[in-house]
């Protein structure tokens, strides 16, 4: 298994470690529930250095990124970021990404750890059309920490300096920490306010320790998954995959068909027109925990209407919650459904997403 530069810090903190996408990562420290509560009430600190960072620079970097991604990068000023998708030729999803415009002709792309190699091959495969672009995989050199919660900005400014105080959501800026370049972006995957900090591997430990000393609570991948589900953010391999279109996955908004041509565009148009399924939220009406792959049935429990893509028990809402892909006829908030949890058929209700967002 691979390790991030923070491995020893996690082990010393007593973290329970788990294999995630081939990386030895902390799933929890004090416990998933207390870590979720820390993010919702104070600030949690996540090591997400396993994620991938690619840079694209060159005279036609803009055209290249615009042609490979689904969202419209012409909306990005320098210093702004956007959520986007890589689409297959059939308008299935290769991965969801964040695109950062570092310069007019320079972009940083952040990808999921589990899709890193696949995404890199994808970018390399599409680079041939843009011979004047340099494509650099900086993942091995780059550490990434996410500081999330109502206290996150205060803690971040105290440690990193007040020059980041003007950043709005999805803006980022360069800075220095311990004489090393960092990028601070007001982004996150938890539904809380906060920032994500890119730094060189060599100062990752000092940065982590400084943030923890200022009050950030170490939080693991278990908490991260609960928080992103409460915030209704999709996860590749659950809500997103090559077999389902963005409109079946809650991410149709990130596909800008009007921007010009891009990979998967013509299939995307067809998929959008003919879309039959929708991603919805579900809350359980009794204390129960829906899980990925649980079948969802109509209220009478005599026909299947869809499948749970992600489920958990929300400590914030104190109930079982799920995202599910249901047929459009059954996707209206308020619709009563039944979730089959290991053979027990339990009452649930379709709700509007997100379950929880605060400060974002």
């Amino acid at each position: 298994m691979k390790q991030t530069p923070l491995y020893d810090v996690h082990v010393a903190a007593g973290a329970t470690m788990v294999d995630f996408a081939g990386w030895n990562m902390p799933v929890s420290y004090a416990g998933t529930v207390s870590e979720v509560q820390a993010v919702r009430t104070k600030a949690g600190l996540f090591d997400v250095s396993h994620m991938g960072e690619f840079r694209i620079v060159g005279p036609h970097a803009f055209e290249m990124v615009q042609s490979i991604t689904s969202n419209d990068v012409s909306r990005l000023q320098v210093g702004e970021a956007q959520y986007s998708l890589l689409l297959t030729d059939d308008a299935g999803i290769v991965d969801d990404i964040i695109v950062y415009r570092q310069a007019d002709d320079g972009f940083l792309i952040v990808v999921n750890a589990g899709c890193l190699d696949k995404d890199w091959a994808w970018f390399e495969g599409h680079a041939g059309n843009y011979p004047d672009c340099a494509l650099v995989n900086e993942s091995e050199l780059t550490s990434l920490s996410a500081l999330q919660g109502p206290e996150a900005i205060r803690i971040g400014l105290a440690v990193l300096g007040s020059e980041f105080s003007e950043l709005h959501r999805f803006q980022f800026a360069l800075g220095r920490f311990h004489n090393s370049a960092i990028t601070v972006s007001r982004t996150g995957y938890t539904g809380a306010d906060g920032c994500e900090i890119f730094c060189d591997d060599r100062i990752a430990v000092q940065l982590w320790n400084a943030l923890a000393a200022e009050g950030a609570v170490p939080a693991g991948l278990g908490a991260r998954d609960v928080l992103r589900l409460e915030a209704a953010y999709p996860l590749y391999g659950h809500e997103l995959d090559a077999e389902h279109s963005p409109w079946e996955s809650g991410t149709g908004w990130a596909v800008k068909l009007g921007k010009g041509d891009f990979n998967g565009r013509s299939a995307a148009e067809q998929k959008r027109k003919g879309n039959r399924n929708k991603l919805v939220g579900i809350t359980m009406n009794t204390r129960a925990i829906p899980r990925e792959h649980c079948t969802v049935l109509n209220a009478g429990a005599d026909s299947e209407v869809g499948t749970v893509t992600s489920g958990t028990f929300s400590p914030t809402l104190q109930q079982g919650i799920a995202m599910a892909r249901l047929s459009i006829e059954n996707s209206t908030p308020g619709t009563e459904v039944v979730v089959d949890i290991r053979g027990r058929k339990l009452s649930a209700t379709v709700v509007k997403l997100p379950f929880y967002r605060n400060g974002v």
Binding site: T32, S34, R287, R342
Partner: protein, 127 residues
């Protein structure tokens, strides 16, 4: 577990405390640690008759679901209703306030398959 000599243990990580023919059953400290924060428990109905090793319920955390197996044969006479509102008692006090069910054991009681505290410690170490 060696500091709890009056408990017997199953290979499936339940403990049992026997007073005459009443057996109180819960999951071990090791089991609750593996599970993480307990979110809910699926209890058997009071009155249900169980064989030894029969599945009598489920215990769930955010990360996992575990089946619960009866260490002895008998009839369920009580379930720990406090755990409905406070499932975290299983994590905080797994051998005490976090008990799950009470069973009136069928006599003669067969505990030959159960482990002593030392034997259970050995089992956990081998994992």
């Amino acid at each position: 577990m060696s500091e709890l000599p009056e408990l017997l243990f199953s290979k499936t990580h339940e403990w049992v405390r026997i007073d005459d023919d009443i057996a109180t059953v819960g999951i071990t400290a090791h089991a609750q640690e593996e599970l993480g924060d307990v979110a809910l428990i699926l209890f058997p109905e009071v009155g249900r008759v169980l064989q030894a090793d029969e599945k009598f319920g489920e215990i769930e955390s955010i990360k996992a679901v575990s089946d619960l197996f009866s260490p002895i044969a008998g009839e369920v006479i009580a379930v720990n209703e406090e755990l409905e509102a406070s499932p975290e008692l299983v994590n905080d006090d797994p051998h005490g306030a976090g008990w799950l069910v009470q069973i009136r054991a069928f006599i003669p009681m067969d505990t030959s398959e159960l482990l002593s505290a030392e034997e259970y410690d050995e089992l956990v170490r081998e994992h």
